[in-house]
């Protein structure tokens, strides 16, 4: 599974430019899905048919990552940029980005008058080794993702775009292991989550699921002087109760917890005070759906070193498997 994670997190895929990630997943899951299609927004939708006795279940993991988009190329060939999704200036300096063609660049900022203060984003720039506007290979409108190779530290893994490629891994693995289910399960590898849950909203509006489950990362409260949160890496899958955008369906939360307890899957209850996931969009799409989220605890979210614990990932896969192979009566 480490190999799958490595390939996925190192792929390029800022919101709106998820093609490479989608193509990879499409090839990876083709042998396991009964039907597959790509919708108008670029969501990859794979159906695993049930035995006809269950529900229509939508499982979503987003393929996109935060990134930047070039807004201006200077006379000397430096690139000014704006954010795609939640980019935090403190994570930028000295970092590296990767463009769709594999070209990389480094980020730096204008002179700091006061080193204790961050610049606004428009005072940072990317250097791709160009010497002038003319020889710069990058144009205004090009998008880039942050770049770092996967770092494996025993059970702990750090990389860019763990948010939410690790959710994709959970979805892919669950699909591969799903031999029989009462439910028609639509695995949606969604797009444009980081810019407003746009892919999942469209997918849910089209699919009209009875139940939707997002697979995404959540924060943790186990690092020095962080915001208090009762989630720790290595303590299991996180079952979402509430986040900044939504309150998960109480019955579905109860069911997830029962499944985890019955199968002895380590789990923790999650109350996230900021941020949200595809589950919010799916909850209010069309006539609404019963919506919840299986979260992978993650440190340093939206930095280029997002960190998860492989045992938590395994727990998420198992929990999703337990939910999908049992009846969902709510």
């Amino acid at each position: 599974m480490i190999d799958l994670i490595r390939k996925l997190v190192e792929l390029y895929g800022p919101s709106g430019f998820e093609d490479q990630v989608r193509a990879f997943i499409q090839a990876e899951i083709a042998p396991y899905a009964d039907e597959m299609r790509v919708d108008a927004l670029g969501n990859l939708i794979a159906l695993k048919k049930g035995d006809g006795t269950g529900k229509r279940v939508l499982v979503s993991a987003h393929t996109d990552e935060i990134g930047v988009m070039i807004t201006h190329v200077t006379e000397k060939g430096f690139l000014r940029f704006t954010n795609i999704g939640g980019v935090f200036a403190a994570n930028l300096l000295g970092g590296r980005v990767q463009f769709a063609d594999g070209r990389q660049g480094v980020i730096y900022g204008d002179k700091f008058e006061d080193r204790s203060k961050l610049h606004p984003l428009n005072k940072y720039y990317i250097d791709v080794g160009a010497t002038s506007k003319e020889d710069c290979p990058v144009r205004v409108g090009d998008a880039a993702g942050f770049y770092r190779p996967l770092l494996v530290m025993g059970d702990r893994l750090a990389a860019k775009s763990m948010d939410d490629r690790i959710g994709c891994v959970v979805g892919i693995e669950a699909l591969k292991r799903l031999t029989a289910s009462p439910h028609d399960v639509y695995f949606v590898f969604s797009v444009q989550e980081e810019v407003g849950l746009r892919g999942a909203a469209a997918a849910a509006n089209g699919l009209h699921p009875d139940v939707s489950i997002a697979l995404d990362v959540t924060g943790s409260g186990d690092t020095p002087e962080c915001h208090p949160m009762a989630i720790s890496l290595g303590q299991g899958t996180a079952i979402k109760v509430k986040d900044g955008g939504m309150i998960a369906h109480a019955g579905l939360v109860r069911l997830m917890r029962q499944r985890a307890e019955a199968a002895n899957i380590p789990h923790q209850m999650e109350v996230l005070e900021g941020g949200t996931t595809d589950a919010y969009a799916m909850q209010v799409a069309g006539p609404g759906s019963i919506s919840g989220c299986i979260s992978i605890p993650c440190r340093y979210i939206h930095s280029a070193s997002e960190m998860v614990d492989i045992n938590d990932v395994e727990a998420c896969i198992r929990l999703l498997g337990e939910i999908l192979t049992h009846p969902i009566d709510l």
């Binding site: 208090p228 949160m229 939360v253 209850m269 109350v271 909850q283």
Partner: protein, 362 residues
């Protein structure tokens, strides 16, 4: 119908946003005698259908009164001074809890069983210096149910809901005070309306919806309108009453002087006019309430569901909104239900045509 009795049941039943099943149960009991069909949807909206007398297919009016209430949610279970000591709960808010009034309130923790507790805080001299003269924030407060940590952690976990606890109190002049009158008062008004409609002919189908998750962003109403696809919708909510230190012209309204009728971009002018005509027909006093942008009520969600739904808004004045002593006049609630019933009874086959025509002509 004893409106005070109904309100007492409705306000004292817990129903935090996202955990509305107890209050949905209470509303089910209240509405069962009046409707032909009751059901819930994926968000927990309680939907009651009262069929009209007209010929099928009948036009449908949706009434939305949110039944959820602001509440708290457990984020941590802590021990002090260690695991052999007492247990305490740290919480976050569900909806717009006014932290200036939380200290010393009673709550009900919905763990393995219901545990009464209080909201406590260290005294100012033990708080960090920058917190001493501030309202207590969630970083300062604890929920204390008086149990040792070992016992507490068996009963309560992260993600358990905590509702406020305050019996309905009767004041003078037919006024009542309590928690979650925002918006159980409107649920009561819809019940009054359904009661009136038992004795009136109405050609339209009435879909009464006790909506969920209004306090965290109008979620229930949006989905209910999407699912029910009504031809017309009316949201009911509370508005600010004039009261001590709240006399703002245009923003606050007299308690006991009837409901307000919203107008503005969020509200279809034809429905506003229809409600005024209904009020005039029964000589019921109403006050116009301008909503210059979005109303902050379910009306904002209903209007843009599906291909758009003509939407109206009725609000009932309330003092001390989002505290545990929200204060209202019973006769405002009764009049709101009466007005709504009159409006519905007057709806005919031509109303919808006139409604959209009115945007161009006249």
């Amino acid at each position: 119908m004893d409106v005070k009795q109904l309100l007492q049941t409705l306000t004292e039943t817990p129903g935090p946003s996202g955990q509305e099943s107890p209050i949905a149960q209470a509303v089910t009991t209240a509405w069962t005698p009046y409707v032909d069909l009751l059901m819930t949807d994926a968000l927990g909206n309680l939907i009651g259908l009262k069929k009209g007398d007209g010929e099928a297919p009948r036009p449908r009016i949706l009434l939305a009164a949110h039944m959820d209430e602001i509440a708290l949610l457990v984020t941590q279970v802590l021990a002090y001074p260690d695991e052999n000591g007492y247990g305490f709960l740290k919480v976050t808010k569900v909806g717009g809890v006014d932290t200036r009034q939380t200290l010393g309130q009673q709550v009900l923790v919905h763990g393995q069983r219901e545990l009464p507790g209080v909201i406590g805080c260290l005294p100012p001299h033990l708080l960090p210096e920058n917190r001493r003269s501030k309202p207590i924030g969630f970083e300062d407060m604890v929920v204390d149910v008086g149990l040792p940590y070992v016992e507490l952690k068996q009963l309560v976990g992260v993600g358990d809901f905590v509702s406020f606890r305050q019996p309905l109190r009767e004041l003078h002049n037919g006024r009542v005070a309590g928690k979650s009158l925002d918006n159980r008062a409107s649920v009561a008004a819809v019940t009054v309306c359904l009661d009136w409609l038992r004795g009136r002919k109405h050609s339209w189908d009435v879909i009464a919806v006790a909506t969920t998750q209004e306090e965290i962003g109008l979620r229930g109403a949006f989905v209910a309108a999407g699912g029910q696809q009504p031809d017309l919708a009316i949201a009911l909510d509370v508005t600010w009453a004039k009261g001590p230190l709240a006399q703002d012209g245009g923003l606050t309204f007299e308690l006991g002087e009837g409901p307000t009728l919203g107008y503005g971009p969020n509200i279809h002018p034809g429905i506003y006019k229809g409600l005024q005509e209904a009020a005039a027909a029964i000589e019921l006093k109403v006050t116009p309430e301008g909503q210059p942008t979005l109303s902050g009520t379910d009306a904002a969600a209903l209007q843009i569901a599906r291909a758009g739904i003509p939407t109206g808004l009725i609000c009932i004045p309330q003092r001390y909104m989002h505290t545990m002593v929200e204060t209202m006049a019973l006769n405002d609630i009764e009049r709101t239900g009466r007005l709504l019933a009159e409006f519905i009874a007057r709806l005919d086959g031509d109303f919808l045509n006139q409604l959209n025509k009115s945007l161009m002509d006249g």
